[in-house]
Symmetry: C2
């Protein structure tokens, strides 16, 4: 079946968006649409210009026999700011306050539009990095890990506190949660992380950093490599964090009288380098 | 800024795909692209024809002052079959067998492409239903619940076995897991499920159905309504299941000598009504 340009552009947009960061040969589209190479090249030029203008992402085109196209998803600094401001407004609602200076945010992490946009922000830091896998620990970090992994188009793996028989054999580490001062255990299926994998750690909340430091230990136990740490929110913490390098979308400051102030995290500085 | 047709179609495809089942007024696109109503109508006609031919979904167009367009995602029977066959082949690998007649499938549920396609299959049964929320219980059901919720564009909520302080006050139920014969507890944040919500329950694996029956009880406790049950895989079970109506993508039969046979679940009959 021969496709018209308009039909090709619609299908191609869908195809590229659902296969981010995958190298697709021009031949694939030539065959898929029964169209000439020159038409496909022109399509891809239009696609690249539109996606870049709309700040949805970009198209990398490489020529030559092993060449092809790759859709690199991203988010504009302005859209990221709009997303963050909406989150700050929503999470600052007094009805969200919980005893102990906590903020209710489970619904935000369960909203497909919100979680997708938070994932786009955090993933945009790593779209050009060699990330093999996104790692999180159950439970609340899972939706965000999935959203980031979807944008990067890499698998995500879930570290368990209490692995079930369906995980097969596991490797486990014990750790001290700095904020609760309890000894905890986390374990990961031996099958889930190949040696030398480059791992991006994603979690919903960073406080003392004990949980993330334990994931770092687990990564070492698997002879894999930590590439970065991305969190939805960082909380205030009096003391030295177990980890120093991370990217956060939000910052939640709780003062001694349980007053809460939510502001932007460090993502602007780390991802957009001060770009407006 | 005025958009050309080709640019409009690319941006519109992206917009519709990331806002499934949302009613978007024609006025929104007229303003977004600074284009005439007739041009936008023509764009939407091309969009509808292409998405339907490619079996990506359809566009519902309603006229009149409260009218607009809505992208309804779906998957063709043929593509669903291809997805299922790939899953059966992969999961039938002898290296995936675990002691006790289990199959290792955590990596499948952590693969963005696979989970998206499984989500498309299960969501397609409910794209025309009034579903308010997708519910699952931690941990392994979460990625699938998120994938289904993303297609339906509704929130997903996670029932916890041991809720943390960050969930606020909860309602809990005790239940007996039929397969393990243990008494367990599950709880859900009171804030997460409004009364009269219509709930689609999603889980990774159905065996005796005790866990899903408990979620049904929890739904009643919240004065909400169960709309349906969708699972990735149903296992063999000697006895009467606690639930009788459900949709499954795969069926995993374990015989007395731990031989495993994986076949299609009941989704073809329930979703495609025998369509080829």
């Amino acid at each position: 079946m021969k496709f018209k340009r308009s039909e090709r552009l619609i299908d191609m947009t869908n195809y590229l968006m659902t296969h981010p960061r995958t190298l697709i040969s021009a031949g694939f589209f030539i065959k898929r649409y029964d169209s000439a190479k020159s038409s496909i090249s022109e399509d891809l030029g239009i696609m690249k210009a539109t996606l870049e203008t709309q700040k949805i992402g970009s198209i990398e085109i490489t020529n030559g026999p092993t060449g092809g196209v790759r859709f690199i998803p991203s988010i504009g600094a302005e859209e990221a700011k709009t997303v963050t401001e909406a989150l700050i407004k929503e999470l600052s609602e007094p009805t969200r306050r919980l005893p102990g200076g906590y903020v209710y945010m489970s619904d935000i992490l369960g909203d497909p539009q919100m979680i997708r946009n938070i994932g786009r922000i955090l993933a945009s830091e790593y779209v050009h990095s060699a990330v093999d896998v996104v790692m999180t620990v159950e439970t609340k970090g899972i939706p965000l890990a999935q959203a980031v992994a979807e944008q990067l188009n890499v698998p995500f793996i879930i570290v368990r506190h209490d692995a079930k028989i369906t995980e097969g054999s596991t490797i486990s580490v014990n750790y001290v949660s700095k904020s609760s001062e309890q000894i905890k255990k986390m374990e990961l299926s031996k099958r889930s992380l190949p040696v030398q994998s480059k791992v991006l750690v994603v979690d919903d909340f960073l406080k003392g950093g004990g949980t993330i430091a334990a994931m770092t230990n687990l990564i070492q136990e698997f002879d894999a490599e930590l590439i970065g740490v991305s969190v939805f929110a960082e909380g205030s913490y009096n003391g030295t964090r177990s980890i120093s390098e991370y990217t956060s979308v939000l910052k939640v400051d709780t003062s001694a009288d349980d007053t809460i102030k939510i502001t932007s995290g460090n993502y602007q500085k780390r991802i957009f380098k001060g770009e407006k």
